[in-house]
Symmetry: none
């Protein structure tokens, strides 16, 4: 195959994602990545020039993908509550896959503030603009307590992301096993919906293709 190299590049990228975003090894060395991927350390530089550029590429990739999916969900023509239910479900599932992603981004930006750029996708519409009108409509109808879209989204993000980020802290304090904690996390999908809207997640939503109880 001609694309043997392409596969190797992908192998390195996926391995690095695992190490950084799943295992949370922020300081993982190129050697550790190479070992885990079963390739020569020098190959990392062959494909990515430097550790730093590999990092940036990973971040860009993972952040863009996330943003696109989030926007896709918010752009659907679903009713507001279903849309948010899908959003919650996506965030939680995403967090289960890459629990340390936020942690990683935060640390990286603290280290090199220039990297903020990666976050603010060029000419991309802000999430809060996507829901502003709908949210106002819901408030007007009295289906949700008055709140700005920024606080609304921050609430959502917080309730979805923090429990994943703080997995190790919470698990330790409450003495939960990995299984118990994953169960706890999935339960949260409903809890978060109820906390946000102050009503139970309707059975109709649970069963739709938004698949809020997946995984």
């Amino acid at each position: 195959m001609l694309e043997e190299g392409v596969q190797t590049e992908k192998l390195i990228r996926e391995t690095a994602k695992q190490i950084f975003f799943q295992k949370g090894c922020l300081k993982a060395t190129t050697q550790e990545i190479a070992n885990e991927a079963g390739v020569n350390r020098a190959l990392i530089h062959y494909y990515f020039r430097s550790r730093e550029q590999l990092l940036d590429m990973l971040l860009e990739e993972v952040i863009c993908e996330k943003r696109e999916k989030m926007h896709a969900i918010l752009n659907t023509s679903l009713p507001f509550r279903e849309k948010i239910a899908a959003y919650i479900s996506f965030l939680v599932d995403r967090g289960i896959t890459y629990p340390y992603l936020d942690n990683f981004i935060i640390s990286e930006i603290a280290r090199r503030p220039e990297k903020r750029e990666i976050l603010s996708g060029r000419n991309s519409i802000k999430s809060c603009d996507l829901i502003r009108e709908e949210l106002e409509e819901e408030i007007k109808r009295g289906r949700i307590a008055p709140i700005t879209p920024e606080h609304f989204l921050m609430n959502l993000s917080s309730l979805c992301n923090y429990p994943l980020l703080a997995k190790s802290i919470f698990q330790t304090i409450h003495g939960m096993t990995d299984a118990t904690y994953t169960r706890f996390l999935l339960d949260r999908k409903e809890v978060i919906f109820r906390t946000i809207f102050n009503v139970d997640l309707p059975e109709t939503i649970k069963d739709t293709k938004t698949n809020i109880l997946s995984k």
Copy 2:
């Protein structure tokens, strides 16, 4: 003075806290700490033996202090909602002081899982046990939607901590200045209360010594 050394030790400790927990420089070197504190690098080893032990000491100190204050708040004889209002206020203020603390803990535990010990204070009562009965009472009275104490506390922690943790992310995405963001954070005290209890924060609480709008 006899306590000249004690002062220097404290200076190093406080400087390190700033660098690690306020500036979020997880990988700060001993040299950077020494420079910032204006002392010789070797002094850090003189007082703390190793970078690792300095880290542990800082964590222990800051975590214990936080846990004690949190428990103190939850142990007061205040009505439930006031207690929680105070709790929120404390968490947010705390987060403004040391925004990167959770981030730091998470990274440290990912690196050295043994450090979980530092979190689980010896023979300390779990927070959720402190509120279990009161929460059940509130639920029975219909003053809050049914929820387990674990999820209740997780909601609280998430809503308070994440916005601080993710300051750099959110600030970038929404193009907020530092001042705007601090304002946003303080606003959240009321937003969080409303999100949790689905009622406005009563004026009476705002004005009491729980001082929910402080800072």
Copy 3:
């Protein structure tokens, strides 16, 4: 060449042996070894992981080699006196090559008693067992004064090794040049034989392939 690295590794090893066992620089730093070998300091860690492991490798190598040669000599079918003559010759020549070896071993064991292991080769036969019977036979025949094999071997070792070990001391006290001292050492081959057996070293032995006057 494929073995370029192997050569460099050997270069480092041989250089280190010279510095430690010939020049007697017990405290030689990795930098000094690297300088002497004309390589980068980091290469030492590339090949040997740590200074400690380099040391252990050198010791193991040099001790094993010595033990094997000693046992080979004691296992030959030569007459006893010739065997011992060969043994003396080997020890003295060996000592001229690596005068500080014993000194090094002694210091290392004082520093890390665990290293005794390196000395006691796994399942290796003790030297004194190899000569016990022959020595008893010689004593019975009245060709040597009664002595235990342990004392006999200790006498041999002492008479051969100490003059090399203490080269600097003796040379200073007696004001000998390097050349004079080497002559003195080679003379000792005969002196030692005479001291042990109380007879002159026979001309026949001198000329044989045991080559007692070599070097």
Copy 4:
């Protein structure tokens, strides 16, 4: 007392001798010496200016003392064999007290050849000159095989000193306990006499004040 300082100085000196010459810790730090002596580290510099000067002082002291006693023995009017018996006894006992002394001297001289000076006591008569005539007389009388005084003394030194120096090596190879080895060393007093003179150590010598079986 006015001489409190003098006592402290002596305490440090004796402690250092133990560490260096008895325990064989060549690389012992000033901190280790201070700890062992129970004094402040800075005191070592107060009394001895530097670690190096402390070392030199210890060496000078211990070497001079040894040389004087050795010369005293060789200068007595005892018959030659008794004199040598006393010499052997002294060397072995000395070695039991400070087994690592020679090792230390050798290492120091390898490190700083200037220190040879310490060995060659100013205007002191060489040991071999002290016995030359007597030895020649003994050879003429046929009481000992022909040998130069240099080789004779080297034999003596080797047979007495090496077993002490190489204690750790020999003990390991032959699996001897400390007690067994000390017994072995004391036995050597007679063995050495026999090896040198090819006759048993007379009972009359054993019982005299030269006390060859002491300790």
